[in-house]
């Protein structure tokens, strides 16, 4: 049986199984910690830093930090919230995110977090980088303009033999996601859909299937990001 430990988040007493990552432990206690590069079932990476919290006074990524006995965690303090907001703003200015015509609108985690953090306009200048749409794959279109380099597709999508299909290519600020030319051609419809679903933004799109979910029925239309966790009734012991 897992050892249960106690810790606090913003002063609230919480309990979790020892060794659980903080972001998961918080969720089980009805507390939302935002994430972008993290995804259930994939080994955490801690690259986007959106889940940053203060653990015993130190900045840590909640997706890669296991919870420990008596931890004192700060999640909603102004300093942390402002830091997260800045990170989200930087994602927006670093790429070309035009939500109005993006079919991930309403299902996009970056957009959903921007709404949560009430980002009306970023504080930073837009970079407007020149990036390409790669439409050469028979199942997927890759729009690098929207990619936030979270690596969820690299870490989470494999073929039936367990081989990775996506990888980083180029270096520095020219880094982008590449699709293995050979394996990419053999993508099943199911894997292509999974790749689109795992992408937190609209960088990977299944071909010829856009906008089929009506407004009002998209993931974040009715339940803004985090509300399902924060409003989930936790059974009292």
């Amino acid at each position: 049986m897992n050892q249960i430990i106690r810790f606090t988040i913003d002063g609230t007493e919480c309990m979790a199984a020892k060794g659980q990552y903080l972001v998961d432990a918080a969720r089980e206690n009805g507390i939302f910690i935002p994430t972008l590069c993290n995804y259930p079932g994939i080994k955490p990476k801690g690259s986007c830093r959106v889940c940053t919290v203060k653990v015993n006074g130190r900045l840590m990524t909640a997706c890669t930090t296991p919870v420990a006995e008596s931890m004192v965690i700060e999640n909603l303090c102004p300093e942390i919230e402002n830091l997260r907001k800045q990170i989200i703003e930087l994602f927006f200015v670093e790429g070309n995110h035009f939500c109005p015509a993006c079919e991930k609108s309403g299902q996009c985690e970056l957009q959903a977090l921007a709404y949560r953090y009430k980002i009306m306009a970023p504080r930073y200048p837009f970079a407007f980088p020149q990036r390409e749409v790669d439409a050469s794959n028979p199942k997927l279109i890759k729009d690098q303009n929207r990619c936030i380099l979270c690596k969820r597709c690299i870490r989470g999508i494999h073929d039936e033999k367990g081989r990775t299909i996506f990888a980083y290519k180029r270096r520095s600020n020219r880094v982008e996601i590449g699709i293995d030319p050979k394996l990419g051609k053999e993508l099943s419809d199911e894997t292509a859909q999974k790749a689109m679903d795992i992408c937190p933004v609209g960088a990977l799109l299944v071909r010829e299937k856009g906008f089929d979910i009506p407004i009002g029925e998209r993931k974040y239309d009715k339940t803004p990001i985090g509300h399902d966790i924060e409003h989930h009734k936790i059974p009292t012991p």
């Binding site: 439409a135 279109i141 906008f211 407004i215």
Partner: protein, 485 residues
């Protein structure tokens, strides 16, 4: 001494433009131009995008009639996904789109008549400009203003129920639609509390036509004698000659009503229509190739539709159509102010159509999308509130748009608006050395009759006020007035 008058910016139209009027040494108007000074470039920056984004992306051209762009693009993409050329959709797909479109016509025409045009009719062209707006209408005629606002609201709610949002929805997708109408929406539109139910909308639409006819009978000089000039007309009509605002064949008539473009398939529009670029405007000048650049221009919009159609397939609008035709002795009406009359008849027709569709159970169930053999090129036409709207796309082997051509309703009306400005300028400004408010508004009233959306026409962004400046023959500014500051 020759003069040049510039009107900039134009008010109570959508977009931004200016008018210049050149006056010769004898004080006579010898040239007028409606300049469209916005530039946007949707046709260029959509290149490279996946084709299924087009209906959602291109509708951002406009906040007044995005549904028209949304549907015209979707119709073009229907061709590309093999869903036929406007008649191959499932009953649900076709009827949901039609309901969305009639909601759009209803709200946009209501906006134009009640908010933009009615102040001129209620207060007069030469009235105090501080009253000549929707607030002035509300103070002078509360019921009329409330009707305008509520009719627009009803149309917008129809759009929301079919497209997901009142402005910039996502309902139409290549090959069909992405949702059914909910039974709750159907119920509230049919049996909802007054005023927001369809029967009340039909009643108000009838009242609006009556309001205009009453006004017309008392102001014949303004309505019948204001800047009339002969024109050809172009619109879609149903194959049997009925007015059809969503789909049909392309018909043009000459000034006498003779058919000069014989109900052709709009997939071949490039065989018949070309566009001319002039160096003083961002808005192109379309024309019928057969008649050349000088004589091939035509008018689109409500007046054109009533001129080209043989009948209307809803009873109340048909009755009004017959009166309209009878008043014009069965000939095309060339009176720009009759466009308001035509627009109101179309509001009534749209309301009747919406009622017919709301009672159709195909909206509640059935297949949403159909696809067939893929093609790499498609053209979509629709009768937008302001007239015939052309969307033309070509895609490459990777499903990316490589060519987009949009001929927007207001672009089609470019030459007629210039003609109308000329007519008014000659009448109002010959031998005048000073511009009065009434003269300036008379020019605007002529433009406004076309309900132009200059933002759409140049695919551009911004307000559209009007400014008039008066220049002598040496281009020296001698007078200037601005109607929006």
């Amino acid at each position: 001494m020759g003069q040049k008058i510039t009107i900039e910016p134009v008010t109570r139209v959508e977009g931004h433009g200016k008018v210049t009027i050149h006056i010769d040494n004898e004080g006579k108007v010898n040239q007028t131009r409606l300049h469209i000074v916005e530039f946007r470039g949707f046709e260029r920056f959509i290149q490279g995008r996946p084709y299924w984004e087009a209906p959602v992306l291109v509708q951002r051209l406009c906040g007044i009639c995005p549904v028209s762009h949304h549907l015209a693009a979707a119709k073009a993409l229907d061709v590309i996904v093999g869903a036929g050329t406007g008649e191959g959709l499932t009953p649900t797909g076709d009827k949901m789109r039609r309901l969305m479109h009639y909601g759009q016509i209803f709200q946009s025409h209501s906006l134009h008549f009640f908010h933009l045009a009615s102040p001129d009719l209620l207060f007069g062209i030469d009235s105090d400009p501080t009253n000549r707006n929707i607030i002035g209408v509300a103070l002078a005629n509360k019921d009329l203003a409330v009707q305008g606002v509520m009719m627009r609201k009803f149309g917008q709610e129809i759009i929301e129920a079919t497209a997901g949002k009142k402005i910039h929805g996502t309902g139409a997708i290549p090959g069909g639609i992405n949702k059914h109408l909910s039974t709750a929406d159907k119920e509230r539109f049919i049996n909802g509390k007054k005023p927001l139910n369809i029967d009340n909308m039909i009643s108000w639409a009838s009242d609006a036509v009556d309001f205009f006819k009453d006004y017309h009978s008392k102001n014949k000089k303004l309505i019948d004698g204001f800047a009339d000039f002969p024109s050809s007309y172009l619109s879609l009509v149903r194959k049997d000659g009925a007015m059809d605002l969503y789909h049909g064949v392309l018909r043009a008539i000459d000034k006498d009503g003779k058919i000069i473009l014989h109900d052709v398939d709009y997939q071949d529009y490039l065989k018949y229509i070309d566009e001319e670029v002039r160096n003083w405007s961002y808005m192109k000048f379309p024309y019928l190739k057969e008649f050349g650049r000088q004589n091939g221009w035509y008018t689109v919009g409500p007046l054109a539709r009533l001129n080209t159609a043989e009948f209307i397939d809803t009873p109340l609008a048909q009755k009004e159509f017959e009166q309209f035709k009878s008043y014009n002795n069965g000939k095309p009406s060339h009176k720009p102010m009759h466009a308001h009359w035509a627009r109101l008849i179309e509001i009534l027709h749209s309301a009747e159509k919406m009622k017919e569709l709301l009672n159709d159970n195909d909206l509640l169930e059935g297949e949403l999308v159909i696809k067939g053999k893929k093609r790499h090129e498609g053209v979509g036409l629709i009768e937008a509130p302001r007239g015939t709207l052309f969307h033309h796309y070509k895609i490459n082997e990777h499903d990316q748009i490589e060519m987009c051509n949009l001929i927007v309703s207001t672009t089609n009306n470019n030459q007629p608006m210039n003609e109308a400005v000329y007519q008014v300028a000659v009448r109002e400004m010959n031998n005048k050395k000073e511009i009065t408010e009434a003269m300036m508004n008379a020019v605007e009233v002529a433009i406004r009759a076309y309900d132009p959306c200059l933002s759409c026409a140049t695919h551009a962004l911004g307000q559209m006020p009007l400014e008039i400046s008066l220049f002598d023959s040496k281009n020296k500014l001698i007078d200037k007035r601005c109607s929006f500051q």
